[in-house]
Every structure is written in C-alpha cells, then in structure tokens.
Symmetry: C2
Subunit: 323 residues, 2 copies
C-alpha cells in the first residue's frame, strides 16, 4: 500500500536497523519518492574483495534476500570459499558467504572497469531487482577508526574481529574532511520536491556520524528548509543490535532514547522513540512516541508511515505558523 505523499524523502541509514526502516519506506513510498543515503565508512578491502557492509545489508534487505536473523549477509548462504580460505591458512575472521562473494567480485570488477561505487551500487540494485535508489553518501574513501582503550582500531577490527570488546572513547572518520557528497546525494538533498529527511535507527556514532561528516552534510541538514526527523536506535535503554548502548555507557552517558535526540539536537526537529519509552516524551516536545521495534515487515511499514506522518505534521505546523 503506497502512502499518497506530497514529495520525496531522503533517509540516512547504516546497516541492520537502518535497512529495516528503509524496507518499510520502500513499502509505503513509490520507488521514485525515496532516496537512501548509506554509510560507506565501514567499507574495506579484504581478501582482495571490495566490501561495503551497510550498502549490502540495505541491498539484500530490500531485495528480500537478507538473512532473517543475523543482521548481515544473505539467506540460504553457503560457505565453501571461506572453508577453503581457512584450510589454506587465510583470514577467516570476516565471514563471507559464497553468494556474498559473488556480489563482491562483481562490484570490484565494475569498479576496476571504472564505475564509481554509486554506479556499481545502482547496477547491483538492478541485478537484484531493487527499484529504490540506494546512494553511497560519497564515492570518496571515508574510513571509520574507533578510538579505544586498546588503541585506534579500524572499524572492522573493532566491530567484527574484536566483537566491540574494547572500551570506545570516540570515533574519527579518515578522509571525511576531503570527501565530497556524490552528485546524486547532493541532488537528492537539494531536490525542490524534497519533503523531509529521515535519520534511520542506526548507530549514531558508527553509522550516522560518518554520513554527517561528509561534505558538510550535518550543516546542510541544520540549515534545511524541510523537516529532519530521526528514529532512536535505543529502546528501553538498550540497542536492538550492535554496540550503540555500550558505546553510550563508555562515553559516560546513560543509554536512553533521549541521548540520540540530544546527540542530533542541532539538526533534528523530532526524534521518534518507542512506546516503552513514552515517559521520556512527556515534557519533551522533541520526542514523539511510535512503535519503533520492527519485528515484522508490517512493523517496518508501520514505522515508515509514522515517520512520514511526523514529517507531514511538522510541515503543516510550519505552514500554519507562516499563514
């Protein structure tokens, strides 16, 4: 069921949680009314493959081929290549299934032939039958480095190899200062038909920050004419997946849906928080209660509708003030 919507939406997203809301938005908006701007700072080269974890999670989720539970990779995956890599003494700490490797090989092949990451992503989306526009935030290299008590670690070392065990002190995004938004992202944000921007429930420090760090995007959103809303990845003081809550604690914060709202305070108009956190919204106009936990595909569509309604309400309120 499509929601009759006034305009187009841009959604910023990382991996799992972001991909779920992206799928919800794809269910309720016409394909041309949605632009997904995806984090690329987790990307890395491994086993001579070009791996883009967040782009792939979004791609697989929208194509309906994502693994239902683990939050990365594909359903009905096999592991023959990695088994042999391991047998030959190669690195096996980063799990790469056979189907996943096929996609990485195709992406690298396209990029070696001169395609940008944006163009390669478009082609892969077409091959997987995904109509929605999935845009890497930049075609330049940005790489997340996590500052921890065990030293400054490349993202995948921290996240996968060490399973987020080291205590995080902060993140830096190498290359972000010189990286430019892709022309397609720039265009999506400056689109006169843009109705609003949605920050998906991804890790604020590891997934959203490295998007915002590119090409002055955070300042652009701060100055945006359209509503910018967010969905808290924290529900009942915990993250549904990943280290967001753990990192908040390590940064000296009590994890709560309000932390996200505060963290995005300079550019987000409203943050959707879950029903279990309704008490927080009592005397805080920046917080809006919704059903944010996405267990089913219907939950995803429901949250997407709540996001669109929140944007439309802000637009209406602003109009009421103006006229």
């Amino acid at each position: 069921m499509m929601t009759a919507s006034a305009g187009r939406y841009v959604a910023l997203c990382g991996g799992v949680g972001g991909a779920k809301l992206a799928d919800g938005l794809a269910q309720v908006l016409p394909p041309d009314a949605l632009r997904l701007v995806v984090n690329v700072a987790d990307d890395f080269s491994h086993l001579s493959l070009r791996i883009s974890p967040d782009l792939d999670t979004v791609l697989y989720t929208l194509a309906g081929v994502a693994h239902g539970v683990q939050g990365w990779g594909r359903a009905a995956e096999t592991w023959h290549v990695l088994d042999e890599v391991k047998r030959l003494g190669g690195p096996d700490w980063f799990l790469l299934g056979d189907k996943d490797i096929a996609l990485h090989l195709l992406r690298r092949t396209m990029m070696e032939e001169g395609a940008t990451l944006t163009a390669a992503t478009r082609t892969l989306a077409q091959l997987l039958g995904v109509a929605v526009c999935i845009l890497p935030v930049t075609d330049d290299d940005v790489r997340t480095m996590v500052e921890t008590d065990a030293g400054v670690l490349p993202f995948q070392t921290y996240f996968v190899k060490l399973r987020c065990a080291p205590v995080a002190r902060g993140c830096r995004f190498e290359g972000a200062q010189t990286a430019r938004l892709s022309a397609q992202v720039e265009q999506a944000l400056r689109d006169p038909a843009l109705a609003g921007v949605i920050v998906c429930p991804s890790n604020p420090y590891l997934s959203i920050d490295p998007i915002l760090a590119v090409g002055g995007l955070r300042a652009m959103l701060r100055d945006a004419d359209v509503p910018v809303i967010a969905v808290s990845p924290i529900i009942g003081g915990e993250a549904i997946k990943g280290p967001a809550a753990k990192m908040m604690r390590e940064l000296g914060l009590a994890p709560s849906a309000r932390v996200t709202a505060d963290y995005y305070g300079d550019f987000v108009d409203v943050t959707l928080i879950d029903e279990v956190d309704a008490a927080l919204a009592k005397d805080d106009a920046r917080l809006l209660v919704a059903k944010t936990l996405m267990r089913t595909r219907e939950d995803r569509a429901g949250l997407a509708r709540a996001c669109i309604e929140a944007v439309e309400k802000i637009r209406k309120d602003r109009k009421d003030v103006l006229f």
Copy 2:
C-alpha cells in the same frame, strides 16, 4: 621411490600434460632436485581475480587435489559463487569453482600486499603442502594472443570462450620482448648442479613457446652445456588434450611426434615419443621411444624415469667423447 640422480633438473611446463610429467618427476626426484618453470602467458584477470591456469594446474596436480579427468580445476569442487554470479548476470563462461576462487583470492591478496607472482606461488605451494619448487617463468606480464581467422584473440577467449574453434594462424606473446626471467629461474638454469632440462609434453605453440620467448630462454637452452630433452605431446598423430594437433594442421603440418622434435630442433637434443610412434624413431637419432601416455600416477613416474635416463645417457655419451 627416489632415483639417485647426479644433479638437478629444470622442467618447462604448461598445463595438463606438463603437470602430469611434473608430478612424475616430483615422485622420482628429491624435492630439491627439481625446478618447474611454468608458463604464465595464459594468466589473466577475470571477475577481479588473478588467474594463473598453468601454475594452478601444476599446483593442484602436485598437491593431489586436481580434478582427475577435466584437466583443470579441483576435485570435489562446488560452484556456489559462479551460480550466483550467473544469476546476477555476470560472466560465467570461465568456470571457477569455490575452492579455486579461494586460491585466486589469496593470490591476489598476497600480490596486492606486494608479493611477486613467484613469492605468491611459493606461499600457495607451501599452503597446499607441495615441496617442489614451482616457478613462474617471469614476474612480468606476458600475454598470449592467438592470431586466427576470427581476428587476434586473447588466449582465454580463444581457448575457453570459443573452445579453440577459430582457425589458428600463429601466436604472439605480448610483453615477452621486455619480460625478464625471474631471478629464481635464472638461478635454476645457471645452477652448476643442473643435470638437464626437460620440456614437458605441453602444447609447443601455446604453452612452451611463451616460456621460451621470455628473456632469451630459447637461446640460453640452445647454448646450454647440459642436455635438453623434450617429450612429444603428440601421440599417434593426436594430442591427448587440447588443440596442439588441430593447430599443427591449421599451420599446414601433418601432426606427428616428429613435428614437435622439428619445432624444438634448435635447442633439444632428444625428443621422447610414444611407443605407438616407434616407427618414426627408426632412422632418426633425435627421437627416443618411451611410454609417454600417462594414465596413472605410475605412468607419470615411469615417464619421469625415462626422461632422467635419457638425460643421463646423453651426459654419458658426451663424457665418453671428451675422455
């Protein structure tokens, strides 16, 4: 069973037939007494993998993991990556199994980290438990182009994609003029302990010529002090595998074991031909009859012993003349 041998041997080889004799030599010589110099002009980049068909056939054969019948690739192979590549519309004309892809990924990773093809091959041999020294003839790029009635074709296009269907007019080896023998090959050929050089029963035009074309190797063999012998890949007027006989016909020659001997005439002392071709050897001292068809591992060892005996006989005959 090791043959007590006076010195070291260098064997030049391409894929299937060459690999079989290489395995025979590896059975009868101590590991340190054998250096395999392998063709790299069939190497190519495909699906962003670095593929070295002849090196891999030799590696897999010596490791005992080669496919027993098809002449390339591995035994007990699976095809999950290629199935998905195909499903996604990628190129599937070059057959790459999952285990094979694991090796290609490891090789490319090593080479991206700065390893030469020689160093990467040594590491892969160790990982596969192969003690014999397998040397790419060069670390520089040499690429076979086949001149055909359908135009000048890259080797893999001619060999795999078009299944050798076009009529061959000749071959050229791009890069051969500037390519240098690797230091390890140079050393193997100038080794004071070198007893002899064996040209394996590989395709003279497609496998041996591009080895000989590098760094003046053909002239080096012409001037060599040690015996140089060859094994004819043609038995009873036909090649056991591949297009050698077809190419001979297209080049206007009647395929026979003598064609190989003639073709190598300037640098080979003796060519071993099969028992079925014994008549050819009657009045031709350059030809020596042996059991060259290798059906079993014992056949390979037997032919290896025949090669070593042929070298030793030439050495003895020369000594007899000198003293």
